[in-house]
């Protein structure tokens, strides 16, 4: 065992931390101490001058502030029942998002678990900032040092095996292939995986609401943040814009689209840089989609001057459309009068629908059977993390109920 632990780089905590975690039992979820600890960490992050350069870090710091934690506590904790953290949570974070591991850790802490977190091997400055402030915080809350171990290690199944054996819950981010790899390491009999697989997301824009929306610049910024900010490659990033016409004329719909893309283009033009290979990838995917599916009519956006924004109008939705996804500003577009038309793209791969308009427009769709769509949230908030995520109730999954009759 020692040899295996020697292959690990410890960012926060030590091999002893990990060894001490087993069979200690979980803590009370959302206990006062963890609220104080996270709030302190949040302060230290926000106080660090470099945090201002990283909006993702700031957003996380706000998420673990006292007020937000209290709000979550109110939603999740049932004061009449007894709950404990499940024990040890082993988190495998995605390698190309900086702060995701911190959310996963905070979720584990809030639910009363000890946490082993494999952080991305890439040296993100955000991670340095978060780890440094966390270590500082833990100096003040020494009892919590034994609950947190942040590690880095290569693709090493022996290490995956050892850490998985300790886990009561294993949280796997990073998509299908990572899940397949990590699952080669067995878990204890009562342990289970929470898997965040490859997903895609959509956006629905109500034509009327958009035309009457006062601040189109804000709408564009929100949509930009939902998409381009993560190269349109987060599972929450909309891949398609569905225009909910619902009584609006074709001309009004066209006008709304023209305005929407023009405002978005202003954001893109100022902020987004594209690498040559991404431009080639976008053209490749557009042709692949067109080759296989004659009824789609891909058209290049006329409001955009270059490869950073590619729009492809489709005249029919089918289950294969989302096999042709691309990053870096590549959007399918579809117009409909009834959102039940989204059913073919609402399969199990569909995660989030970002919307602009009245969420009541989803009523017809939500009355149907569908295997995807875990979240319907306003555009601009698709990335807002919550303990109910990707269709999982993380609070329930990371805690254990004690029944006394």
């Amino acid at each position: 065992m020692q040899q295996i632990f020697d292959k690990i780089n410890y960012e926060v905590g030590t091999a002893q931390t990990i060894c001490g975690m087993a069979e200690r039992g979980g803590r009370v979820p959302f206990a006062e101490e963890v609220t104080v600890l996270l709030n302190d960490w949040s302060h230290r992050i926000l106080k660090a001058p470099e945090s201002r350069s990283y909006p993702d870090v700031v957003t996380f710091a706000f998420w673990i502030r006292k007020a937000n934690v209290a709000e979550m506590r109110g939603r999740f904790v049932d004061e009449r029942s007894i709950a404990r953290g499940r024990g040890v949570a082993f988190h495998i974070a995605p390698s190309n998002v900086a702060v995701n591991y911190a959310y996963s850790l905070a979720a584990g802490l809030l639910t009363g678990n000890a946490n082993i977190v494999r952080v991305p091997s890439k040296d993100f400055p955000q991670i340095r900032l978060l780890n440094r402030t966390l270590s500082e915080t833990l100096e003040e809350y020494r009892a919590w040092q034994e609950e947190i171990c942040l590690v880095r290690y290569g693709h090493d199944q022996a290490v995956n095996d050892a850490l998985s054996q300790l886990a009561d819950t294993r949280i796997i981010w990073g998509g299908d292939v990572t899940i397949r790899e990590i699952r080669k390491s067995p878990l204890k009999a009562r342990a289970f995986d929470v898997c965040f697989a490859d997903r895609y997301s959509l956006a629905v824009v109500d034509v009327w609401s958009y035309l009457h929306c006062e601040d189109k610049e804000k709408a564009a910024l929100d949509f930009y943040n939902d998409t381009y900010l993560t190269d349109q490659n987060a599972c929450t990033s909309p891949r398609m814009v569905v225009w909910y016409a619902h009584g609006a004329s074709a001309q009004e719909q066209a006008e709304a689209a023209e305005l929407f893309w023009r405002h978005l283009w202003e954001q893109v033009e100022q902020k987004y840089a594209i690498r040559p290979i991404q431009a080639v990838n976008k053209l490749t995917t557009a042709y692949l989609a067109a080759a296989g599916h004659e009824e789609w009519r891909p058209v290049r956006a006329d409001t955009a001057a270059d490869n950073r924004l590619v729009r492809i109008a489709v005249s029919k939705l089918d289950g294969h459309l989302m096999d042709y996804r691309e990053n870096s500003g590549f959007f399918y577009e579809y117009v409909c009068d009834d959102l039940r038309e989204l059913l073919p793209v609402s399969g199990s791969r569909c995660q989030t629908i970002g919307y602009l308009g009245d969420p009541g427009m989803f009523d017809t769709l939500l009355s149907e059977r569908f295997s995807g769509i875990d979240r319907i949230v306003p555009i601009g908030r698709t990335m807002d993390f919550d303990l109910i995520w990707d269709g999982y109730h993380l609070y329930e999954m990371l805690t254990r109920k004690v029944i006394v009759r």
């Binding site: 990572t178 058209v299 001057a305 950073r308 492809i312």
Partner: protein
Amino acid sequence: MEYSELLEYEPYSLDHSQKQKLLTKRLTDLTAHHMAHCRLYKNMMDSVGMTQERLREAVSYEELPFLPVRLFKELELASVPKEAVFKTMTSSGTTGQRVSKIFLDRQTAANQQKTMVKIVSDFIGSARMPMLILDCPSVVKNRLMFSARGAGILGFSIFGADRTYALTDEMKLDIDGVRQFLERHSGQRILMFGFTFMVWQHFYKELLRLEREEGERFDFSNGILIHGGGWKKLTSEAVSPEEFHRRLLAVCGLDHIHDYYGMVEQTGCIYMQCECGHLHASIFSDVIIRNPDDFTVCGVGDKGIIETVSAIPESYPGHLLLTEDEGILLGKDDCPCGRRGKYFKILGRLENAEIRGCSDTYAADFR
């Protein structure tokens, strides 16, 4: 327009505007031909609004839609019925990668060969020379599925007599075989052909070892080396084209060295490096450097993505291709070597982008 009309001309005899006129006619005809005969290609052209009317109005092949070369790895694109496919060529993708599949009928295959003869003869003359192939014999054995390496060797073999493989199937230099080859042709010009990396790894390095450890030196001062396949593998060893040339000259006296740029998707239309070190487009093909931001055409001196144009392909829609290589147009019609048309330089493969987002790269290392 028939391809045979182009074959009437010498490969570097037309200036850019004359060439543009001819090629535009041929390439619009090819686009129309493939739209009529390849359903998938037609769908793709529909998606960008390319119609027969718009084709007739095109004044330059720079306006015609180009296909990313990767599509030939994802789709089977042919403009002839299956029965007419005479051979299928594949790119030499590394293990696990998907390979391009290129379908040739007799006509297209024959035009590829005729074109290559015309281009290469311009550099080495049309007399056959004894030929030393710097590769192993097994690479051309499976004639039904041609790899790029095999196709290159067979393509250049028509310029050679007494074709001899310098390497064994274990990729060892066949020292006795090479010695005997040189003895048989002492005093004659000899043609040598191989892939850049193979030449370096299995030929140059072995010659260097022989000289250092066994004091044996081979004399290739009568040799003309044509090599291609790219510098990607050599950049990790930090070998530049100049270094490559210098070291070969030092180890065996080889001084006539022509790199070429070409791809299995447009076999026949190779871009040969002239005496001034420039790659040249013949009248049978062209390069267009495209701005990665919007795919507009770059001028002389601007870096961009290379589109390659070939007037040959009739059996598959590969006449206008966007490569994943980066290059610079050096000039038109005015290379000091006297050849007309465009000349250019390859800068290498487009860098793979690191994409943010939660779908992972973790797994990539497992493959």
